[in-house]
């Protein structure tokens, strides 16, 4: 634990490991449920367990707030920073890189797919004005962009991609309940594979609950969640296209 590369959560003293937890048990409040709550804290691998609150939500359901200390530690040396976490290039740098390395404008097609009607996320990435002061892809000289909006069928998206000879596909998924985003995203990749498009284009997905790991698992080249902006995406896609071009020689 003394090794500076091992860390634990911090409450008010280094390495105290303090974590706050809350959950509901499908049990009536009382001694039995409390004991179950403590067992859960133990199974989470916590010690110095404090059950701070027991509150009945309804007959059959009880809410707990608890604190505990995390016994394990995280070895920072085992952490690898992901490929999509590289420092973002500026718009000028990206345009410059495209000109130099790829020598032509790139075509990007984006949409919020399936039944998802949330557009703010994809607009944040694509629209000129961007989001949080970070400009969108429309502002790049070397990008040709098509934002198809929301509720776009995977089929329609791929059609459009073929038609425009797209280099990059951007998919936004915001609704994640019952894993509908996984269903939608998987369907798109499967269709792309079936049509032989998967390797011709860079597939990128994004949304508040999308992580890079998830995206990779689903067969995408990258995934971007909240706090990610157009420059992050542009940087990734351009580098990926350059990588592909180079590895083709």
């Amino acid at each position: 634990m003394q090794d500076k590369n091992f860390i634990k959560p911090y409450g008010d003293t280094l390495n105290d490991g303090k974590i706050q937890i809350s959950f509901t048990l499908p049990l009536d409040a009382g001694a039995k449920a409390q004991a179950a709550a403590s067992q859960i804290m133990e199974k989470l691998g916590l010690e110095d367990i404090v059950i701070a609150q027991e509150q009945s939500l309804s007959p059959g359901f009880t809410f707990y707030v608890a604190y505990g200390s995390f016994k394990a530690a995280i070895d920072l040396d085992t952490i690898v920073v992901l490929e999509n976490e590289q420092k973002a290039l500026t718009i000028e740098e990206t345009d410059e890189l495209i000109k130099r390395e790829l020598g032509r404008k790139l075509t990007v097609i984006g949409a919020s797919t399936g039944t998802d009607a949330h557009t703010v996320g994809i607009d944040a990435i694509m629209n000129r004005k961007g989001f949080n002061g970070r400009f969108g892809l429309e502002r790049y000289d070397m990008l040709i962009t098509h934002n198809l909006g929301s509720q776009v069928l995977n089929e329609t998206l791929l059609q459009k991609a073929v038609q425009e000879n797209a280099d990059v596909i951007l998919v936004s998924q915001t609704v994640t309940q019952k894993d509908i985003h996984i269903h939608n995203l998987t369907e798109l990749i499967e269709m792309a594979e079936a049509e032989g498009l998967r390797d011709k284009m860079v597939f990128i997905c994004g949304g508040a609950r999308i992580t890079h790991e998830l995206a990779k698992e689903l067969g995408y080249d990258a995934g971007f969640g909240s706090g990610k902006y157009a420059d992050d995406v542009a940087t990734f896609m351009v580098k990926e296209l350059i990588r592909r071009k180079e590895s083709n020689f």
């Binding site: 959950f23 309804s58 009607a117 509720q151």
Partner: protein, 514 residues
């Protein structure tokens, strides 16, 4: 007393007059048209229920049949009446026979001078009776419960599974919720039919089906009895089946319905002609059923800026009001929407929120306003979220709002867990209890920032309404005056379900309710 604000009555009158003029334009268009949804609704109100072997609702089967044969513009009532007159089959039997390919409705015609209303009177009356009974039952239950001197707490459930929804709703009622809204699965609004039966597989919400309505109504009646309160039930009559869902809600005693004249156009890209026709009939049904509509102005502020676009909310409320009046829906049933969506980091934002809330309150003194919580500036920081919601609860309580949609601390994360809802209800009840009587002890500074802000927003709303009135609503929507979204009158979903009425056309229900 804080929940009043002085407005320039002249401005108010002008704004409402423009709204009325826009609405009468829309009405003129609406009256000349029908849609597949309107016709399916007529089928349902004539007692056509159930689905065929491939799960197509018989109402759809019958109306598709008419459409296929180019008979939509004459309407379902006409053909059902004609077939009934000749075959003595009930509407249900007729629909089933059509499904089996045993009837071709085009082969029937009403004798001159005979109206569908007359022929179908028994079926019509049966529906009217059922709706009236449900309305009476609601009124009775509400009269029996203790009155509340505070906003009604409105909670959503959205598990996707009607049975889990019931568990959640019953728990919420016990925790203090007054109104339960079952959120719809994503995508349902684009379905051109209403699914059938109890459902357990929705995404971000649960299918609106008549059986789901019935199950939830039953569960809420039961817990309501136990608690000595009437728990109100809400669903969505919006999307491509707007009036059908209105009819289902009327039959199953829903108490409120999300129903906005423009929401589907703007947020679901539904064709504007289609929506405006559908909403008119929906509102007639809601009106007779005593159902409070909830309009969706809050949605504008999730994409547009709540300070800059405050006047679009007001303009839209006036439009919704005037369109509702045109459909015979009284002010007491107008849950006009607005929202607490100013960035909490805006200096003095709360002062503006109060001004906006008071403006809505004062413009529609009879209307049970629906006030929406912060959503856009909610983050994954659930603790901060809890205090954003406390501020919202306070604004709502102080300004005398009626339908208080509860903010969830996990808004930016997931559809509510049972504990999220419980914590949010606790938050609101604590504010309402502890601040009880506060509004009476405070007064708004006359000529101060709050009054000035309200006046300014009203002026801008008036300008916008003037512009819409001049250019007509269709054109204004094409220009994108609301929520930064523009839609074409020929684009969007569902335009092929619109038909110009033939002179033989009859809608027996609309006739009664107009």
């Amino acid at each position: 007393m804080i929940d009043q604000i002085k407005l320039d009555e002249n401005l108010v009158a002008q704004a409402k007059a423009h709204g009325a003029s826009i609405a009468s334009d829309v009405l003129a268009f609406v009256q000349g048209h029908t849609t597949v949804a309107v016709e399916r609704t007529i089928c349902r109100l004539l007692g056509i229920d159930g689905v065929n072997q491939v799960y197509a609702p018989y109402a759809n089967v019958l109306v598709e049949h008419l459409k296929e044969w180019g008979l939509l513009s004459i309407g379902a009532a006409y053909f059902i009446a004609a077939a009934h007159l000749e075959t003595k089959m009930s509407p249900q039997e007729i629909a089933e026979a059509v499904d089996q390919g045993q009837l071709q409705l085009g082969s029937f015609a009403l004798p001159p001078g005979v109206t569908a209303s007359d022929v179908l009177a028994p079926y019509i009356n049966q529906s009217l009776k059922k709706i009236a009974e449900q309305r009476a039952k609601r009124e009775e239950k509400i009269a029996a419960e203790p009155k509340k001197d505070r906003p009604l707490i409105y909670c959503i459930v959205a598990t996707g599974n009607i049975y889990e929804d019931i568990t959640q709703s019953v728990a919420a009622a016990r925790q203090g919720a007054d109104i339960i809204a079952v959120i719809r699965t994503t995508g349902q609004s684009l379905l051109d039919y209403v699914p059938y039966g109890a459902t357990t597989e929705g995404f971000g919400g649960t299918y609106a089906t008549q059986e789901n309505f019935r199950l939830m109504r039953q569960a809420l009646d039961q817990v309501g009895e136990e608690l000595g309160r009437y728990i109100r039930l809400t669903n969505y009559c919006s999307g491509l089946c707007m009036p059908e869902i209105a009819a289902m809600g009327a039959l199953e005693r829903l108490d409120m319905m999300l129903n906005d004249a423009l929401y589907g156009i703007l947020f679901r890209d539904i064709n504007m002609q289609r929506t405006l026709i559908d909403q008119h009939f929906s509102r007639q049904i809601n009106a007779v059923a005593g159902i409070i509509i909830n309009t969706g102005e809050d949605n504008y502020l999730t994409t547009a800026d709540a300070v800059e676009e405050a006047h679009t909310v007001i303009a839209s409320q006036i439009l919704n009001e005037q369109l509702a009046l045109a459909a015979g829906l009284p002010s007491e049933q107008m849950g006009l929407g607005h929202a607490f969506e100013i960035d909490p980091n805006v200096q003095g934002g709360f002062v503006l929120e109060l001004a906006h809330a008071l403006l809505s309150r004062s413009l529609f003194p009879q209307a049970p306003l629906k006030y929406m919580p912060p959503t856009k500036f909610m983050t994954g920081n659930i603790f901060k979220g809890q205090s954003q919601n406390t501020m919202f609860n306070i604004a709502s309580y102080l300004t005398g709002q009626n339908i208080h949609l509860l903010g969830m601390l996990t808004e930016a994360i997931h559809t509510p867990f049972m504990s999220d809802r419980a914590l949010s209800i606790e938050n609101a009840l604590m504010v309402f209890t502890s601040m009880a009587g506060l509004a009476e002890e405070l007064e708004i500074k006359s000529g101060g920032k709050i009054e000035k802000r309200a006046q300014l927003v009203l002026e801008k709303a008036l300008e916008l309404l003037e512009e819409i009135d001049q250019n007509k609503l269709f054109h204004a929507l094409e220009k994108g005056v609301f929520a930064d979204i523009s839609r074409s009158s020929q684009g969007g979903k569902g335009l092929d379900g619109v038909a110009k009425k033939d002179e033989r056309y009859e809608n027996p229900f609309s006739q009664i309710w107009s």
